[in-house]
Amino acid sequence: MKKTADYVVIGGGVIGCSIAYHLAQKGAKNIALIEKKYLTSGATGRCGAGVRMQFGTETNCLLAKHSVELFENLEEELSYDGSIEFKQGGYLLLAYTEKMVEQFHKNLGIQHQLGIPSSWVTPEEAKEIVPYLNTQGLLGATFCPKDGHCNPFKTTDAYAKAAQKLGVEIMTYTEVTELLAQEGRIKGVRTREGIIETPVVILCAGSYSRDLAATIGIELPITPERHQILVTEPVEKMQEPMVMSFYHGLYCQQVPHGGFVMGLGDPNEPKEYNYNGSWQFLHEMAAKATFILPPLANLRVVRQWAGLYDLTPDRQQILGSVPGCEGFHLAAGFSGHGFMIAPMTGKLMAEHILGEPTSLPIQMFDFSRFERGDLFIEPSVV
């Protein structure tokens, strides 16, 4: 095993792999990426993998828009020998209350200024986009045809392989048990296989980032929250876009393989590490999905699982350096939208770590915003 590294990335999810690739691509050397199990064993491998640009703040719209552009060309950029299965079938966001209608119109204003091709659609138009949509109670929706879905395993694999080609050493089944710091500086990490000395640590271990930061006395305001999800048997193509309702807390889309992937949040979920599935979820999910999309009643559920959102007080990621500990960088707290912004996040983090000006501002995501009471509120997240 490596004894020293110039950069240690902790976490083999899509974020860690994207950061490691971008660092190496910019010429950084001697990078180790450490993952306690296998790549995508955390939230990345459990997520709905929806990709959308329809956000309600300029910052998130831009992050997502640039990421979509990167997704569109990712296979070429990374010289990937497979397909990341990027499908741009759109996202249909349903509005059920006057307040949502108002918010969606505000969001569209921001999106249009940034050149995001979203639009307001009436219930009748929504039915043209998804013919079997139940429009009962629906006041309208927004639709962006360039939103979509990407295979999270393949995307992560593509970043990991490209990183390896550039010399990044990926160590799976290696758990980091402790960060090592001295006199306000990162010194290394302790793993179950031994110590790796390094002046730079990038922590992207999802919810577990909190436990690792605590080993050097840094308290991260990140809590885990279980989110459940299921997939049906594959069927002939019948639904292009992701259908999403903030009102019901659900999202549902047919992935290129043919199965429908759908998930549901529960606001009363205890904030703990729990990723067991529950029958209550299956019933609630089935009831809500078949209400909004009735023909799905005939599809069989093949598998159900759960994953963790890594939540911060404003449900937005923390990006950048951690004050008080030189060489310590963080990219965690992505809540339910870390997959879709992973391409741009990796690039921005690499720029930040290497001391370059970042292509988009990231200071609104800084660690100290919670202390300052300067929360970053995004109206359009589940």
């Binding site: 296998y38 395993f153 048997e233 999905a289 009643a297 005939n298 069989r300 559920v301 598998r303």
Partner: protein, 99 residues
């Protein structure tokens, strides 16, 4: 997926239509972790959840990597154990009404 003549291939995962040749080519590329094979190739991700293919796959892996079969960790089996219609779960239809 495979271009070969029907007679030339051995299907290992029937749900996802994956041949032993495809599995071997992944193993040859260094993907010898059952978890990774499943996620990159979809073996065992179909309706039977690997009931048929996992033992075969474990055998292949053990042979290719020289490990004992018992050392190879199985992937997680997930509920429901048999595919159930969303309509049934929602409480609307009988189990096999429209099948």
């Amino acid at each position: 997926m495979s271009q070969k003549d029907e007679n030339d291939v051995t299907i290992l995962c029937r749900c996802e239509d994956i041949t032993i040749e495809e599995v071997r080519s992944y193993i040859q590329r260094g993907i010898t972790d059952l978890e990774q094979l499943k996620r990159l190739l979809r073996v065992g991700m179909g309706p039977c959840q690997g009931r048929t293919c996992t033992p075969l796959l474990v055998n292949e892996l053990a042979r290719a990597t020289g490990q004992e079969i018992k050392r190879i960790h199985l992937t997680v089996f997930r509920q429901p154990t048999t595919p159930v219609k969303l309509g049934v779960l929602a409480g609307g239809t009988d189990h096999e009404e429209n099948s």
